[in-house]
Symmetry: C2
Subunit: 345 residues, 2 copies
C-alpha cells in the first residue's frame, strides 16, 4: 500500500478522527452489546461468568521508540499486552478499549497504520474494539489499553493459589524480546548519522518478532481447557521471570525454587547475548515483555502438563521461609530479586 500525502489530525477534528479510525470495526462476541460511540461500552456477560478487566498504558520514549517501532506493530503489541492479562486469569479475552494521546507530529496516515495493527490483532483473537478516546498530548504518543474478558467463576486463576510442591511451568522461551530490543537499540546507535541506514538484523529475525510483535498465548489457555487443567496460580511474563515469580510468591505466601538449566532460552537469544557480551540468563530473568505465561499445577499433574507439549517445568513451590531462589547447575543457590525491564541508555 503506497502512502499518499499527509493528512493533519486537526483537519479531521477529534470526532472525525475517531470515526475514521474505528468506523470499520464490527462486533463479533455475543457479550458485546455496543461498540465504540457512546459514553461507555455495554456488555452482557453470560450468566454465571466472571468479568475480567485490566488496564495498561504504553508511553513513547519509555515503552517504545518510534524511530524503529513500526506503528502497525505497536497497535498489535498494545492488543497483546491487554489480551495477555486476561489470559493470565485463565479467561477468554472478548473486548478492548484503546485511548490515544497523540502529538501533532503524527499524521492521520500514521494513526491509520496503528489501527491497522489493532484491527489485525482483534481479528486474530476474536476481540471487539468497544471504546476509547483520542486526545492531543503535549508530548509523545500514549496508548491506554483496557482489556475485558470472561471466565466461568470457578475457573478464574489468581496469583494467590500456588501451594507447596506445586510445579512451576512456563510457556515458550525467555529473554528473546529483551535481546530484540537490545539489537534495535544497537542498530539505532550505529546508524544514527548514516544517510541510508541498512540495519543488520540477519539471523536475529525471531528476536525482532518477539519484541515488535509478541503473540499472546491464547493457544495455551485453550490447551489447558481441553486437558481440563486448571492451574493453581498464573501470571503473564511481562516484567521478567524473576519479578513475576516474586509476585506469585507474595500473593500465594510461598517460596519457590527454580533451576537455571531448565529455563528455556532460544538459540538466537543466546547467540546475540554472546555477541553483545550479555548473560542470556540475565536477559531471561529480568528482560520482561515476553508475554509468555507462568503457572503452577499440583505435582500429580506433571504428566498431564507435559502431554501439552507446550510447557517447561522449571522448578517447584516451597514454603515461604525458604524464599525464592535459583539453583545453578553446580548446586549454588542465588536469591531471586525483582528488577523491571532494564532502562535503556
Amino acid at each position: 500500500m503506497e502512502k499518499k500525502g499527509r493528512t493533519e489530525i486537526a483537519d479531521l477534528g477529534e470526532f472525525g478522527l475517531i470515526d475514521r479510525l474505528t468506523g470499520s470495526f464490527g462486533k463479533g462476541n455475543p457479550s458485546t452489546v455496543t461498540g465504540v460511540g457512546d459514553d461507555a461500552a455495554v456488555l452482557a456477560p453470560a450468566e454465571g461468568d466472571a468479568v475480567l478487566c485490566s488496564s495498561d498504558t504504553m508511553f513513547e520514549g519509555v515503552d517504545f521508540d518510534l524511530t524503529y517501532f513500526p506503528l502497525k506493530h505497536l497497535g498489535y503489541k498494545a492488543v497483546t499486552a491487554g489480551v495477555s492479562d486476561i489470559l493470565a486469569m485463565n479467561g477468554t479475552p472478548e473486548q478492548i478499549m484503546i485511548s490515544l494521546g497523540v502529538s501533532a507530529k503524527l499524521s492521520v496516515e500514521a494513526l491509520d497504520a496503528l489501527y491497522e495493527g489493532i484491527a489485525f490483532a482483534c481479528r486474530e483473537h476474536r476481540i471487539d474494539l468497544v471504546g476509547g478516546d483520542t486526545k492531543s498530548s503535549m508530548t509523545g504518543l500514549v496508548l491506554g489499553i483496557t482489556a475485558i474478558g470472561s471466565a466461568s467463576r470457578e475457573r478464574v486463576v489468581y496469583r494467590s493459589g500456588a501451594q507447596r510442591h506445586d510445579l512451576v511451568c512456563i510457556t515458550g522461551n525467555l529473554g528473546a524480546a529483551y535481546m530484540g530490543l537490545r539489537l534495535l537499540e544497537r542498530e539505532k546507535r550505529v546508524l544514527e548519522n548514516v544517510t541510508n541506514p541498512e540495519p543488520q538484523f540477519e539471523g536475529y529475525e525471531y528476536l525482532l518478532e518477539k519484541y515488535l510483535k509478541p503473540r499472546p498465548r491464547t493457544d495455551i489457555i485453550e490447551a489447558l481447557a481441553e486437558e481440563r487443567i486448571v492451574p493453581t496460580a498464573m501470571i503473564d511474563l511481562s516484567d521478567g521471570l524473576s519479578s513475576d515469580l516474586l509476585q506469585i510468591c507474595k500473593a500465594s505466601k510461598c517460596g519457590v525454587r527454580i533451576y537455571l538449566d531448565r529455563i528455556p532460552i532460544a538459540r538466537q537469544t543466546t547467540a546475540l547475548a554472546e555477541e553483545m557480551h550479555v548473560d542470556p540468563v540475565v536477559a531471561a530473568l529480568h528482560g520482561g515483555q515476553d508475554y509468555e505465561l507462568l503457572f503452577t499445577v499440583p505435582l500429580e499433574m506433571r504428566e498431564q502438563v507435559m502431554r501439552l507439549g507446550l510447557v517447561d517445568v522449571i522448578g517447584h513451590i516451597t514454603d515461604a521461609e525458604a524464599g525464592a531462589c535459583l539453583v545453578t547447575p553446580d548446586g549454588a543457590e542465588i536469591r531471586l530479586r525483582a528488577q523491571g525491564f532494564p532502562e535503556r541508555n
Copy 2:
C-alpha cells in the same frame, strides 16, 4: 496534615509504590470479587445486568496544570470523569481502575495526595478501586481512568434513542467550570513573577469548585430511578453543550432546537464573564467539563421531570432535516457547531 520531607519514587520501586498508594482501599460492592493486585480485576455482575465500561485519559499540560491544580482535587476529578460516563448510561458506577504515568519530579508524598482525592471520591460514590498500574513517564503526569458499572439491561440509556418532540433536559448550570479555568489561568499569568503570590478568587469560589472538584450527578440518576423515568437518550456534558447535543443528534438521527434564554448559567459565571469580556453563552455552549447530564424524555413526561426540581428543559428534538439550532430571544436561529474545550494560550 503537615508534609514531612520528600520520598523519591525510586526509593520505593514500582511495586512498593503501588502497595503504598492502594493498600488502604477496601472493597464494598457485591460485584467486586477482587481488587488491586492481580493481572486483571475480577467482577461478578448480578444476573441479567449489563456491564458498562468507559475509559478516559488526562494529560498534564492539556487537561490540567499542576501549578494551580491541587493533586488531591485532581484525583477526585479523575474519578468524577469516569463515574460521569457510567451515569450517562443510566448505570450505577461500581469500580474504577487508575493507571499512572509519573515523572520523577513528583514525590511519593505528591502521589499520596492524588490518591487521597481518589479515595475520597471512591468513598463518596461507593466505588471500589480494582486496578491500575504505575509507570514512569518521560514527560508529565498522565492518568488513565477505566470506570465500570452496571444497569439492568432494559434500563441502559444510549445516545441514540432521542425521538422527535422529546424534551431536552439538562441538570445544574453550564459554563462555570470553563470560567473557573479562565480565572485560574488569569491569576497564574498575573502572578507569574510575584514572590508571594496571593491570587484573587473572592466571589468566584463556586467557579473554582466546579472546575477543580466537579461532582458527578449521581443524585440525578437516583432521582430518575425513584420517579421511574427512563430517558430516551443521555450524555454527560464533558465537551460542551453544543458538541454534546450534536452527538445526540448524530446518534439519534435527529435535529434539535434549544432556546438561549432557557440555558441555565450561574450568577458567578455571568459576573466573571462580564469582567473578562467573555460571552457567558459561549462559555455555556463550548466550555465543557461541567459533568452535568443532558437527557431527553417524551413530551408527556414534562410534569414528572419538572417535579424532580433538579432539571431545566431547554428545548426539544426535531427532524434531522431541521438541523441543530439555538433560538435567541429575538427569534433568530443560530446553527450549533461542535467545538471542544477551547485551547489555552
